[in-house]
Structure formats: structure tokens, C-alpha cells
């Protein structure tokens, strides 16, 4: 593969590129979808190609192709350089990159059982058993059970002599039960909605989920939700289970701390960020003293774990919020120097045909010694326990958010009680995080995440991890809209 990467880099340099990097990526995917006891779809996909990023006259160009030939490397290099020269016709500030040592080495996700070597019938059997259990209770309308595996091999080379190879393996599986009556549609999922959660792991992770053991309870809960009372509106104490808290972290902590958003380079699509750089200098209070958030690309099992990012920056753990104070961003080689720092290694591309963008790695809300999640419930006189995300939305500066979860349990005198349907809650990001007065300890700390975080034009998906342990928030507005 070095022949191809060298050819592309050499041609780009000969044509005038002052810097270039190239990634050759091979991606293999497998998915199984079960619906109401039937195997709806089994699919296998593979894609390979290379993408070349060049700096010419201080401007970026990028071109990519699925044909791995020397002639195509030359054509793509010519295309990328021409594109960069076109970029330079509308350029006000030349791109400057921070210095980093050339990257060399290999990295591989540690796995015990290769998901692509497990017999298809074994996987289908495991999923069918879970799906059948979820659909067993009377009143379940339909069930869905899903399995996904992805392996990505990639080589990175740059004109500074860097060359790395990485193999990343991610798997995920989940089961859900749906109950429908009239206009009411209720869903319960395990361990997470939409066929998740996913981890950087082998098939041993799927086995460890014990899907079938948890599935029957899902059907019962989905049916029970149909006749459960509507979650009330008002201001309440709320405890978020990790299955919802990770989405809160993702939307209201992760995205606003992306430094490219702060500088406006995503303004036309996803938006900007309220976390402007003056807030870094001023020590902005993002949350209560209990809030410690890191972007940790070294966390075991996280989908944002790797050896090097897609600019060749070594994986690191970067503090974002420390004891409630905003202290750092997710950065790239281009943006970090603007705040006087080195890249924290957060540039990630979705395959060979996309440029790297600043993406979350594993954005983790660290556990706090003191109380387990169960003990936080026992410590709560009056409130609601919300679990499993169902809907999410947040404004273009990441301030006003609204989430819905699959269910809420009333908490009275330290005990979970009545079940409520259609819970929603809303707030302003920093007010919400400042209202946190309890974070669960290590006993409920779990790595979750999403495999399809969207960003950029053309659109890119990213697999990002979020570890958290559950937390309690005071005076939260619940019950939004008319039902």
C-alpha cells in the first residue's frame, strides 16, 4: 500500500502541494435485521478507496477515488491540486497547521472473538431468541432486533514522512418491543434504542449483553406504557439513567466543544457553538462542581478509541470540563494553534471519500465517588427517573435542548414507583449542568455511544463513545407540548 500512498503524495508535491496526506481505507460491514421473528435482512458490505488532502497556496483541496491504481493516484492528485487552487481564489487566511512529530506505528482494536468469523447461523439464532422473547407478552405489536459489525483497516501517510496502519473493529446489538393501540405507540429497547449500543470490541461484547434474558421484560413494559398515565408537566427533580444521560452529554457537551463549530466552519449546516473562545479564557462555569468531562481517545471499548486520528495525531485524553469549569476543546492541527494549543487529536473521517473533521472521540462524564445510581435514587424524596432516549433536539448554538425518553418512573421517598409514558424534558445547557447535584460512582459507569453522529457537507457519520454513570438534576422543566 505504501506504493500507492507515496505515488499520490509525490504527484501532489510535484504539482505544487506544500503539504499532503492520504488515507487508504478498506471497510467491511455486516448487518442482521430481525423484525417480529423474521429475518428481514442480512447484508454484507465492503468499500475501499483512497482520499488525498492537499495544501496549495495556503488552501485545501481534496479528491478521492475507489480505484487503487497508480494512474488513478496521479489523476486524483491532479484533481486535488486543481481544487485547492480554486479554493485559493476565495481565501482570506492561509491555512497553518501545528507541528506534531511524524506518526509511525500500528494500532488494532483488542478483541477476543472476531465477529466476522462467527457463523451467521449462530448470530441469527442469538438474535431470533431475543426477538421471540421480546414479542412473547400479549399486546406487543412488533419487535425489532438488530446486529451490526464493522471493521475498518486504514493506512495514513503524509508528506512529513508519517505512516500508520490501524484496524478498528466495532460491534453492536439490541432488541426492542413496540406496542401500538389507537394513536399510542410505545417502545422499549435494550440496551439502547436503534440496535445499540456499540463498542470497540469483538463478538464477546454481543454475547455479554444477554439479549434474550432482558427481552421479555421489554415487551411487558411496552404494553404497560400504553395504559400508563401521561408524564406530568412542571419543574421536577430528574435522575437520568446512563441510557439517556449519554445523549445529553453528546448533544449539549460534545458538539459545543468542537472548535471548528466555534470558528464557524459548520455554521451553514449544524450550526455554531455558545462555547466561544472568550469562555475558555474566562473559565466559564459550564456545570456544577461535580462535572468532569474528558475527550478520551484511549478509553477501553469506546468507539472513539484509536491509535492516531486522521491527521496522524496520537490518541490522547483531553480535559473539556474540570470541576464544572470549561477548560478545553476538541481540536485539530488547524484550529488548535488559534487558541495557543497543540491538536488534541480529534480529526476523524468517515471512510476514504471524506475529509477529516473535528469529531468527538469518547466524550465521557466521569463518575464521582460517593453514591451509586441506586443510592442516588434512595437519596431522592420526590422526582422522576428517566431512561432510554427516544427523541432529541437542540438549537444551532447548542443551548436550548429537548429530549424524550421511552419511560419515566416516579420516585417517592427514595423508591421508584409508578410508570409514566411520553416523558419529555427541556432546558438551557449550562443551566441544566449547573443544576446537577449528584453523579453516580464507578458501579454504574458504562461505555455507550452512537455509531451515526452526523456532521459536515457532504454528510459524514461518526462512531463516538460516551461513558457515564447516571446523574441527578434539580428543578428541570418536564412535560412539553400538547398530547
Amino acid at each position: 500500500m505504501r506504493d500507492l500512498t507515496h505515488r499520490a503524495l509525490d504527484t501532489a508535491a510535484q504539482l505544487g502541494a506544500t503539504y499532503a496526506d492520504v488515507r487508504v481505507v478498506r471497510r467491511r460491514e455486516e448487518s442482521i435485521a430481525i423484525k417480529s421473528g423474521k429475518v428481514e435482512g442480512v447484508a454484507s458490505g465492503e468499500s475501499e478507496g483512497f482520499g488525498l488532502r492537499v495544501l496549495v497556496d495556503g488552501a485545501w483541496g481534496f479528491a478521492s477515488s475507489s480505484r487503487l491504481t497508480a494512474a488513478e493516484a496521479d489523476r486524483v492528485a491532479g484533481d486535488a491540486v486543481r481544487i485547492a487552487r480554486a479554493s485559493a481564489t476565495a481565501l482570506r487566511n492561509r491555512v497553518r497547521l501545528d507541528d506534531r512529530p511524524p506518526a509511525h506505528g500500528t494500532y488494532e482494536t483488542p478483541i477476543d472473538e472476531d465477529p466476522f468469523s462467527v457463523a451467521l447461523e449462530t448470530k441469527i439464532g442469538l438474535l431470533l431468541a431475543a426477538d421471540a422473547a421480546a414479542g412473547k407478552p400479549r399486546g406487543v405489536s412488533f419487535t425489532e432486533t438488530r446486529y451490526d459489525a464493522r471493521r475498518e483497516w486504514k493506512a495514513f501517510a503524509a508528506t512529513d514522512g508519517s505512516y500508520t496502519e490501524q484496524t478498528l473493529t466495532h460491534v453492536g446489538a439490541g432488541v426492542e418491543a413496540n406496542a401500538i393501540e389507537g394513536d399510542e405507540h410505545q417502545r422499549r429497547s435494550y440496551p439502547d434504542a436503534d440496535g445499540g449500543p456499540f463498542k470497540a470490541a469483538g463478538f464477546e461484547f454481543v454475547r455479554s449483553l444477554n439479549l434474550a434474558d432482558h427481552a421479555e421484560g421489554l415487551g411487558e413494559e411496552a404494553v404497560a406504557l400504553l395504559s400508563a398515565p401521561q408524564c406530568p408537566a412542571g419543574r421536577f427533580t430528574v435522575i437520568l439513567d446512563p441510557s439517556q444521560l449519554y445523549m445529553q452529554v453528546h448533544e449539549s457537551c460534545g458538539h459545543p466543544s468542537e472548535l471548528d463549530r466555534v470558528y464557524g466552519t459548520e455554521a451553514s449546516y449544524a450550526g455554531t457553538s455558545f462555547l466561544t473562545t472568550d469562555k475558555l479564557a474566562d473559565g466559564f462555569r459550564y456545570g456544577s462542581d461535580l462535572i468532569d468531562i474528558v475527550a478520551d481517545a484511549t478509553a477501553p471499548g469506546g468507539m472513539g478509541t484509536f491509535g492516531w486520528d486522521d491527521e496522524g495525531v496520537a490518541a490522547a485524553s483531553v480535559p473539556i470540563v474540570r470541576e464544572g469549569i470549561f477548560v478545553g476543546y476538541l481540536t485539530s492541527r488547524e484550529t488548535a494553534p488559534r487558541i495557543g494549543r497543540q491538536s488534541g487529536g480529534a480529526m476523524r473521517a468517515d471512510g476514504w471519500n471524506r475529509i477529516p473533521l473535528i469529531r468527538m472521540t469518547n466524550l465521557n462524564l466521569l463518575p464521582k465517588p460517593g453514591m451509586s445510581l441506586d443510592e442516588i435514587v434512595a437519596d431522592t424524596d420526590d422526582g422522576f427517573y428517566l431512561a432510554s432516549n427516544r427523541s432529541w433536539s437542540i438549537d444551532d448554538r447548542r443551548l436550548n435542548f429537548q429530549f424524550a425518553t421511552e419511560l419515566a418512573y416516579e420516585i417517592k421517598n427514595g423508591k421508584k414507583g409508578r410508570l409514566f409514558k411520553n416523558p419529555t424534558y427541556t432546558g438551557i445547557t449550562y443551566e441544566f449542568w449547573r443544576s446537577c447535584d449528584a453523579v453516580g460512582d464507578e458501579r454504574s459507569y458504562v461505555m455507550l455511544g452512537t455509531p451515526n453522529c452526523g456532521k459536515g457537507e457532504p454528510g459524514q457519520g461518526a462512531s463516538v463513545g460516551h461513558a457515564c454513570s447516571g446523574a441527578r438534576f434539580r428543578n428541570v422543566q418536564m412535560g412539553v407540548g400538547k398530547w
Binding site: K35, K38, V39, E40, G41, V42, A43, S44, E46, S47, G49, G51, A59, G61, A63, S64, S65, S66, L68, T69, A70, R82, I83, R85, A86, S87, T89, A90, L91, R92, N93, I124, N178, I180, D183, H185, Y263, G264, T265, E266, A267, S268, F274, S391, S393, I394, D395, D396, R397, L399, N400, Q402, A404, N422, T424, I428, E457, P458, V480, G481
Partner: protein, 464 residues
């Protein structure tokens, strides 16, 4: 160096694009591999993409990309067992391996009791309006020219511009063992921009077209810049129920979300759709049709199963009429596909990719003039279903929200969160503009008017 494929066997132009004849031949070679492997039915879908996008922020180009790819999606059926595999390794060895993989998946899968078979050939119209040589040949310099025109309009207004300008060519070929042989070339182009004023204002404008020459970059730039200037220093208004005028950019979201939540036969079969033939869901002013052959959309001659597109009335004068079908949902319903299948395997079901909402008879000025006290909304941001069966959606306003009193725009207001049933919005539609725009929705080209809705439920506000 890795050298794969038989480049001499394929005809490519100077941009590396495959000749359409070769795209269909590739699909047929894949079918032959499938049949040699024992498939009782097989379908090969080839998509060849050449996509380019120039992105700008802070009034300069900061990202500028191109991709060239060809992918084959092979669906193999053995009896009632189905397997799907896809790859962009398209030499003979790659196709042979692909057929092996799809066949192995099929043989190891469970039987689908209600498998309806691959679709039969249907009439497919030639759609010359779907393709523009100017778009296919658009250079980085053409896109940079457009971006500079947008930036110039922003500079003239004293605002900063952000956005993207894309051009794309797609060749799609479908061949199946029932005799379908379908090939089409399509192009698409989109320019969108957000303009930001120094004192907090922001404005948005966009356009989509088959022919890049049909996009007026200066007009788009001026529209967004003017709106950014007019939204500076917004004031807060209380959430609650407000009459609204939704500009076309906001109406796109209504159609996309309703398509996602309800206009699919699979959603109906799973009883999670609001759509029932004959049910009144909108005012008499609301007619929504999916028509892949309408040249005003970004047209498609056939779907990803090779079935010719049918015109499907989804809502006529407020009444639910039909939903869209692919081959499998059609078989379950005992009818034929309407040509709305997506690539297999497809757990999401069929989808309307070319929706149009009929024009009304009201001018844009009259839409606003009819508001005694209400809000004018440019567009929505980050919408998501909260209660799909009631079509309740939450989201934010963005890039231009205004208070209207006595039929006149009073000034800009801070953005608001809404939690609103989109069906109730159709029912409350009291005026529809006679002008419409072609825009890109979440899943395809959409033609939409602006509308006035008598009541829209805002449930929160933000700081800008």
C-alpha cells in the same frame, strides 16, 4: 502497487466516469455470477457517483472535495431466502466474490414466509430533464465562481457568509432475473448559504436544480444577506400558540417528516402511520403528491429496484389518498410497487423521494398581510419526532424569525422551540402561496410553497 480491475474493459471519460452502457453491463455480469451460484432470483443495483462540493465559511472557501465511486449491491434469492452484499470492487474477481457472499448469506438465512419475489419489468420513461451536461462537467472553478458571487453579496451588505455549492452526477443501473434492465443518469446541484451579521442577525437562502446553470448565486447571496441584516438584535417573545407564516425552507421539513413518519406502506402495515385512505388530515388547501417524473423536482425515472416511478397522490385537498410501495410491501398488500423502493436490505420501507405540495393562490405579501399578530419563520433546525403517530415533532426556528403585527413585519425575534403536530399544522393551513421553490429535502428534491398556519405551538426559547 495494487493494480486491480480491467481498466481497458471499461470506457471512462476524462473525469474517470464510467460509460452508462458499461454500468448496465456490470450489473448483468453480476447477475450471471449469481445465477451460476444457484440463485433462483437475483438483482444487481449499480450506482456510480461523481460528487463535488465546495464549502465556505467566514467568507472564504475552507473545504473543497471530490469523490468518485462505483458500487454494486447484489440481492440473491434462493427459494425464499434472501441475501444482500455490496462492494465497490467491481472487477470480475470482485463480482464473483460478491455473488459468493450474497449467496452464502441467502443460504444461511431464514425463509421469508411472505417473500413476494423480485419485481417484474414495468414501463420506464426517458427523463431527459433529469440530466444536465453542464452540471456533469462543472469544474472547481465554476463552483468557486458561484461562491465568490455569494461572498460578494455578503460583503456588499456588511455580513459574513457560510455555505456550500455542490454538483453531482449519478448513474444508476438495475438488472434483475425477471428481466428488468433499467439505466438512468441524473445530475443535481445545490447552493445554500447562511449569512451572519455582526450584531447577531442571520439569514438563509438555498436553491436546488438539475442544471447548475439554473442556480443564481448572486440572488441567493443577496436574499440571505438581506435577511441577516434584518434580523440583527432580535427581541424575545413568549412561547405559546402563535399564527405563523412558514417560508418554503420550513415547509420542506413538514414534507420530509410526514414522508418519514407516515407516507410509507411499511409504516401503514406496521400500524405506526397516521395515513389512512379517506382520512381528513389537512385543510382543503393541502395537496401533496409524489411524482418522480415531475421535471420541477430532481426527477427519477425508476426506483432502486428498477420499477418505473408512478405518480402517487398522498394528500388531496386535505384527504389522505395513497401511500408509496416497494416490491415487498406491495406483495404483502396484493398490489404492485409504485416505484419507491430503496436499496436492499431496507428495514425502513419505501419512501417518497419527489414530493410536491400544490401551489395556492395567495401572494407572499398577502400571506404575511393576513397575520394580525403572528410570526414569520424562515426555517427549522434539528427537528425530531416526539410522537410519530400523532406526527408531533420538536425543533427550533433558525436564521430569520420575525414578529408580524397588523400584516406587517415589526422586527426580528429570538429563536423559539416548537413541539407541534405536523398533521395539526396541515389542518390549520389557511393560505398557500402561489409561488413555489425547488429545494433539497432530507431525501430528495421537493417543490414547496410558503404557507400560513393558524396556530403553531412554541414551547421554549433560546438566547439568540
Amino acid at each position: 502497487m495494487s493494480e486491480r480491475g480491467n481498466p481497458g474493459r471499461e470506457r471512462r471519460d476524462d473525469a474517470g466516469r464510467l460509460d452508462p452502457v458499461d454500468v448496465l453491463a456490470m450489473a448483468e455480469r453480476a447477475l450471471a455470477h449469481a445465477e451460476r451460484g444457484g440463485a433462483t432470483e437475483a438483482e444487481a443495483l449499480v450506482t456510480v457517483d461523481d460528487a463535488r462540493l465546495t464549502r465556505f465559511a467566514n467568507s472564504e472557501i475552507h473545504q473543497n472535495v471530490a469523490e468518485s465511486d462505483a458500487q454494486l449491491n447484489l440481492r440473491i434469492v434462493v427459494g425464499r431466502r434472501v441475501g444482500v452484499a455490496s462492494s465497490n470492487r467491481l472487477d470480475d474477481e470482485g463480482l464473483r466474490r460478491l455473488a459468493e457472499t450474497a449467496g452464502a448469506i441467502a443460504r444461511n438465512s431464514e425463509e421469508l414466509e411472505d417473500w413476494g419475489g423480485l419485481p417484474e419489468p414495468t414501463p420506464i420513461e426517458e427523463l431527459p430533464a433529469a440530466y444536465s451536461e453542464a452540471t456533469a462537467r462543472a469544474t472547481p472553478e465554476v463552483r468557486a465562481d458561484g461562491v465568490r458571487a455569494v461572498i460578494a453579496a455578503a460583503d456588499a451588505a456588511g455580513v459574513v457568509s457560510y455555505g456550500s455549492f455542490s454538483t453531482a452526477t449519478e448513474a444508476i443501473a438495475v438488472a434483475n432475473s425477471k428481466g428488468i434492465r433499467a439505466i438512468q443518469r441524473r445530475t443535481g446541484s445545490q447552493l445554500l448559504t447562511v449569512a451572519m451579521a455582526p450584531d447577531g442577525g442571520s439569514g438563509y437562502a438555498s436553491a436546488a436544480a438539475v442544471d447548475v446553470g439554473g442556480i443564481d448565486a448572486t440572488a441567493i447571496g443577496r436574499e440571505a444577506a438581506a435577511k441577516a441584516r434584518s434580523t440583527s438584535n432580535p427581541v424575545a417573545v413568549d412561547p405559546g400558540d402563535w399564527p405563523v407564516v412558514l417560508e418554503e425552507y420550513a415547509v420542506v421539513d413538514l414534507l420530509s417528516m410526514l414522508g418519514y413518519m407516515g407516507f410509507s406502506a411499511l409504516a401503514v402495515q406496521e400500524e405506526r402511520s397516521f395515513a389512512e385512505p379517506g382520512r381528513k388530515v389537512g385543510s382543503e388547501l393541502v395537496t401533496i403528491i409524489d411524482d418522480g417524473k415531475d421535471p420541477a423536482t430532481l426527477p427519477m425515472a425508476f426506483d432502486y429496484e428498477g420499477v418505473g416511478k408512478q405518480r402517487v397522490p398522498l394528500i388531496e385537498r386535505g384527504i389522505c389518498r395513497e401511500v408509496v410501495y416497494d416490491a415487498q410491501t406491495a406483495a404483502r398488500a396484493g398490489r404492485t410497487s409504485t416505484g419507491h423502493g430503496l436499496p436492499a436490505p431496507n428495514p425502513y420501507g419505501p419512501f417518497p423521494l419527489n414530493m410536491t405540495m400544490s401551489a395556492g393562490s395567495t401572494s407572499r405579501d398577502e400571506l404575511i398581510g393576513g397575520l394580525e399578530r403572528g410570526l414569520l419563520v424562515t426555517r427549522f433546525h434539528y427537528t425530531n419526532p416526539v410522537h410519530p403517530k400523532l406526527a408531533i415533532v420538536t425543533g427550533m426556528t433558525r436564521d430569520g424569525t420575525f414578529l408580524v403585527e397588523d400584516g406587517r413585519i415589526v422586527g426580528p425575534v429570538r429563536n423559539l422551540r416548537f413541539t407541534q403536530s405536523y398533521l395539526a399544522a396541515l389542518a390549520g393551513t389557511s393560505a398557500v402561496s402561489r409561488e413555489r421553490r425547488t429545494l433539497r429535502g432530507d431525501f430528495g428534491g421537493v417543490v414547496v410553497p410558503a404557507i400560513r398556519v393558524d396556530s403553531w405551538t412554541f414551547t421554549g426559547s433560546t438566547e439568540h
